[in-house]
């Protein structure tokens, strides 16, 4: 299994010669025209992808009337902080943010730690029943998330965890996908290093903690990004695992704004301001790790 994976790795790597120096190619008129069209098309598409975010930021600084009348303009007619003021006074945005942050930190730490433990056990430690457990992990990965909404609500009720942080966090704290990623990664590191540590008398956990885990940094970062994004953006699980307003996260809180549960009439600047604010953390993570996310040649497995 290990050798095959490695072989596949090498196979995937070999056809990648060093990039030839950029040649000054004299393009034919036709090629130049096609390049130009390509640029225009891509710029137009990029605009379509970015513009919605720009007008949302602009819209959040507009007055209600301005946002309705001039939805396209990037500069508000009169700058207004009213939306942000309301978010921080009448709307409990800070509490939502605190709840989201709390849940995200615990779920992310939990996934990074427990997924690596389980992944390590499945790839390196020989124990009876390992094959069955791994088959179970694969099967669990195939269960679609929305199908779990009602089942999860039922068990949370049964265990008395409904409408508590416990019920919101525990079902998310370990995920089969993360275990799978870690297992695949551990299989790609040579065993020799660990064996040396073991011969030196380090116990299994110490070997894992001080030798193997530091080597798994690329995979850990991938898992961190996925877990952070996943738990910060999680919505449906928090719809079914709580009902009290005190436990609102940013997603469920902003959803209540969007679906108009706080007074009627359009409040687009308010909704847009909330949407903008809640996107900042994931955007920051994205820009910090942009290279890793975008550098598609080496996946989380290599780095």
């Amino acid at each position: 299994m290990t050798t095959l994976t490695e072989a596949a790795h090498i196979a995937a790597e070999t056809p990648k010669p060093a990039r030839p120096p950029r040649r000054r190619i004299t393009l034919s008129a036709r090629a130049r025209a096609s390049l130009l069209i390509g640029y225009i098309l891509l710029i137009a598409l990029a605009l379509i992808y970015i513009y919605p975010f720009l007008i949302s930021i602009a819209g959040s600084f507009k007055t209600d009337a301005d946002a309705t009348q001039n939805p396209l303009s990037l500069i508000p007619q009169t700058w207004s902080n009213a939306a942000y003021e309301r978010l921080f006074t009448t709307v409990p945005l800070l509490q939502w943010t605190a709840n989201s942050a709390f849940i995200t930190v615990i779920v992310t730490c939990g996934r990074v730690f427990f997924d690596s433990l389980a992944g390590y056990a499945l790839s390196r430690l020989r124990f009876r029943g390992r094959g069955i457990v791994f088959a179970g992990v694969i099967a669990v990965m195939a269960v679609p998330n929305v199908v779990l909404l009602i089942p999860r609500f039922l068990i949370l009720k049964e265990l008395g965890l409904y409408n508590s942080f416990g019920g919101m966090i525990l079902p998310l704290i370990i995920d089969a996908g993360g275990i799978f990623i870690m297992k695949q990664f551990f299989e790609s590191i040579p065993v020799s290093v660990e064996e040396a540590a073991r011969i030196d008398g380090a116990g299994v956990f110490r070997t894992f903690w001080t030798v193997v885990l530091p080597m798994a940094r690329p995979a850990l970062i991938t898992l961190f990004i996925l877990s952070f994004q996943g738990s910060w953006n999680e919505f449906s699980h928090f719809v079914i695992s709580r009902q009290s307003a005190d436990l609102n996260t940013l997603t469920t809180g902003v959803a209540s704004l969007t679906s108009g549960e706080l007074g009627n009439g359009n409040q687009y600047p308010l909704q847009l301001a909330a949407a903008v604010l809640m996107s900042i953390p994931v955007a920051v993570i994205f820009f910090i790790f942009q290279k890793r996310i975008m550098n598609t040649t080496d996946g989380g497995e290599k780095g």
């Binding site: 891509l42 056990a121 679609p144 929305v146 068990i155 919505f235 598609t296």
Partner: protein, 362 residues
Amino acid sequence: MAKGIRGSEGRYGWAFITPAIVIIGLFLVIPIFLALYVSFSNWNGLGSPIGNSSLVGGENYSRVLIEPGLAQRDFGTSIRNNFYYVLLVVPLQTALALFLAVQVNRRILRGRGFFRTAFYFPSVTSSVAITTIFIFLFTASGAVNSILGWFGVNGPNWFADPSGIIHNALAGIGITSPPAALDVPGLLGITWWEWLSGPSVAMCVLIILAIFTTSGTFMLIFLAALQNISGEIDEAAMVDGAGAVRKFFSVTLPMVKPALFTVLTLGLIGTWQVFDQIYLTGKGAPGKTLLTPAFLAYDTSFKGLNWGEGAAISFILFLIIVGLTLLQRFVLRDRDLGKAGVRRARKADIRFHELAKEGANK
């Protein structure tokens, strides 16, 4: 000595894996069986399902699937809506993602990093934020209709428009009422004429939203595959005089086949799970044309308190997703895909499994 190490390995193995087994068992495996029980019971939501309900056989399933009535009609409507959603989203997002990947992979292109970032960024934001933005963009006097106005097009009131686009097209050529042959009850209690409505105008917005948020993620999967194609093959094709179109179909497409397979499967799984957007855009309105099975299951249970029926819908949806995935695997199976190919496809699958799930849920 050796035996000692092995022995402790076994103990540690179980110790390391136990947290995962407990959490997944408790919050995934057991709940599924509990819900399976509820789907065959008459539980009304009070107390624990065990002890406060009795088994009623397949009653819940038959109310949804067979017995004429509101439950069956709602389910039929939700299947129709989601069917058109899948039918449009999956091919369009796949084609767009592949197109974007091929474009931003061109060596000659400047600013590739910028373009990749621009196309991928919508995939990292939450479904709640992006749906909120889309509701704002698609209001009657919103940004999209303003742009359509430049071209003299009077845009619809998107989210309030329940009319199906195929019905609208037929109305354009003068067919406004169903021919008698189609005005009879069809599958799942709704008439064939209703089945042929096409997605509603409101649903079209969600279709655009899905394409917008997932194309970036899938672009990355294709990009990873494209970067495995050696430059030599590329140049050889050019030297041989293959044009861009020809090169795409005879070199690029066959090379990214495993990635294509991954993207189609993930797309098919993701698009049958639309929930967040429906919750946010008015819970199935207008005219129930945004109702999806995932949302209907939630609504039936949590709002209608018909827990058995809701759970039954969940399991039917589960079967639909599993069934379609297997069907697709069968249809698209590639006999030429060697071991390395399978492995490479699986690698891409692992790398993007979570990312794509995330993206596809939007």
